[in-house]
Symmetry: C2
Subunit: 360 residues, 2 copies
């Protein structure tokens, strides 16, 4: 699939050219604390080093890198935000260290190789936006053989959850379909055209929207009714685009709560800052987007509704086969497929159900 | 300016491929009644004739044309909605007359010239979306010399209004800027980066969004405080792209209400169905999107805030110079400029003020 760069700009990059959007990320304390700790607790990775910030946005990670003692920071940004990053570096006294380069990472040529690549490339459920592709490209071209990646590792998680979101969405769907039926009646009686032949397509469009689209949510930890499972681990130093283009996993998640309802699966991610084997960090830093009662991150979690939900009990096992591929129309969006199967503790096994979900 | 077709599809056409969006238009009674009357009160324009429906969407206008007795209707639609239009024509028994062709009007080749071009091409403030370009293209290629256009005429209107929207938006802006100042403080104290250098840019971004963007609104007629003025008249049979690419007008609008406030200008449009000079309609049909106390259309009116607003009195005159050009980045969006000048009935004349507004 060839990517039309202009379309990609219209669809994807344009939102990043607003300070409004950059600020949303800069206000995410969990995110900020993690990157801040990662940089400032590992001065040996930065002092006197050459750093590349892939997708610098407002320039924050580049400026921190400079403050931590980097000799040089290349800060690459595709959008006009580059100009603001430049101003910000200047105003914070690091203009001599931070060199902001406006352009696609894929096209940019650096004058030297770098010791560290730092980047905040994670989208919803880790891989939405497919920005890690650009980090891989940067790494393969510009990272020294003994260089380190910030973050160094990433994981995708899946967990069984209870939630009332499904009912809410079913209700919304009902309302939409009721409204449609009134519309069909009116159009027939006022305008002499019978629209009923489109009812099926209207329902399909709305089912996709309400039931088959991943729902952003900040879950409470007590909504997680079983053991979460890692469905993908990424070593940022060695991962290839091939490895992340499709994600497949089979996991079995034990239910830990009695007499409850498996209404959905939730997906989230975490990343770790560990440096590299030869050049480890002084102290591991984690950025987790798991459900957290102290408030979450701007990524929240992604809720994938299971319709119908299943009654479950402590000791039951949910077996899930998971596939995620990139959407044909837009490589930054994902098509998910879940096959879920309940193995009750009694030994009874319910027939497998398959659901498609769009992460758009 | 060359238009990238793929980008145009991503930005513009994609919304029209949803039944949800087509339904919104099909539920607009004022719009539907006008087109319905136009077709069925003028059977002599349709009976036995060849019709072209530019941008058929759900197919509604094509089906009406067939029901009114057309011999053949070519229904052209760029998006996948074409498939639904085809189904709808079939289900309503006019599949033998209505031929749905999926493609850009600009690329489509018809087997014959047509007697009538019908199209619902109007965007906000008439010309947003620039779809009339496609109608002009269709007309120049496919309309017979004595053919007729549905609608046949269009007008753009401007009027002085009172409204509390400006205060609301100023408040929103204040809140956003207050929020930003807290963010600047926090980012400095928690993360050691001073963001203040971006304050001006943040304000500019938000002023554009809150104050300098056209605001969709369904106004009450009593909010119109003076005489509305026609700023553009289009004869759909003869108009050229050159004529609509830029709109310039100078109008003077008398204030009709005492001791009130000129808070904004409002823009709307109407279109008429008159047939042509040689082949007039039996009865003129009008579709107006002016403020209406019986509820409006899905187009509403566009509100262009004047900041600051002006105190005005009955007998004052507001002189407005108006320019509208297409936005450089997207030819379907518009950049507006207003220079307004108050001539008080006392003879006093306030200095002219110029405001830019984006119709996005
Ligand atoms: N291939 C690419 N080349 C250059 N910039 C890219 C890119 N892909 C994504 N980006 C940019 O990467 C940024 C990701 S958001 C993160 C911004 C900043 N590093 C922060 O942590 O706050 C966006 O500004 C986006 O425009
Ligand atoms: N150049 C072009 N070629 C083909 N279709 C076009 C077009 N420009 C706009 N359209 C289509 O024109 C439609 C305009 S909306 C009007 C739909 C329908 N005629 C109705 O009155 O309800 C959209 O469906 C859009 O996709």
């Amino acid at each position: 699939a060839v990517v039309d760069k202009e379309v990609d700009f219209a669809n994807y990059f344009c939102t990043y050219s607003y300070l409004y959007h950059q600020k949303e990320m800069l206000c995410d304390r969990v995110r900020m604390d993690a990157y801040h700790s990662a940089v400032f607790r590992n001065p040996h990775h930065f002092r006197g080093k050459v750093v590349l910030d892939v997708g610098t946005g407002s320039g924050i990670l580049a400026i921190w890198s400079a403050q931590a003692g980097a000799r040089k920071v290349y800060a690459v940004e595709a959008t006009n935000m580059a100009e603001h990053a430049r101003e910000l570096a200047r105003a914070n006294g690091v203009a001599d260290v931070v060199e902001v380069i406006q352009g696609s990472m894929e096209d940019v040529v650096l004058p030297e190789k770098v010791d560290v690549i730092i980047s905040e490339w994670m989208g919803y459920f880790l891989l939405r936006e497919s920005m890690f592709d650009s980090v891989i490209c940067a790494r393969d071209r510009w990272l020294k053989p003994d260089g380190v990646m910030y973050p160094s590792h990433a994981r995708m998680w899946l967990a069984p959850i209870r939630s009332g979101l499904g009912e809410k969405k079913l209700e919304d769907l009902d309302i939409a379909m009721h409204d449609w039926s009134l519309f069909v009646e009116d159009t027939e009686s006022y305008y002499g055209v019978n629209m009923n032949v489109l009812t099926k397509a209207y329902r399909a469009e709305h089912e996709k929207y309400y039931l088959k689209s991943a729902i952003w949510n900040n879950l409470h930890p007590n909504q997680v009714i079983g053991q979460a499972a890692v469905i993908k681990e990424i070593d940022c130093l060695t991962a290839t685009v091939d490895e992340i283009q499709e994600v497949r996993a089979q996991v079995t998640m034990p239910i830990k709560l009695d007499m409850t309802r498996l209404a959905a699966l939730a997906g989230w991610f975490d990343v770790h800052f560990r440096g590299s084997k030869q050049n480890p960090g002084t102290q591991e830093v984690e950025l987790s987007t798991a459900p957290d009662e102290n408030g979450g991150t701007h990524w929240g979690q992604q809720v994938f509704l299971l319709t119908p939900p299943l009654r479950v009990n402590e000791g039951d096992n949910v077996k899930v086969s998971f596939t995620m591929v990139r959407s044909k129309e837009n490589h930054r969006l994902m098509d998910l497929e879940f096959t879920y199967e309940l193995h009750e503790s009694s030994g009874k096994q319910l027939p497998a159900i398959t659901t498609k979900i769009y992460l758009e």
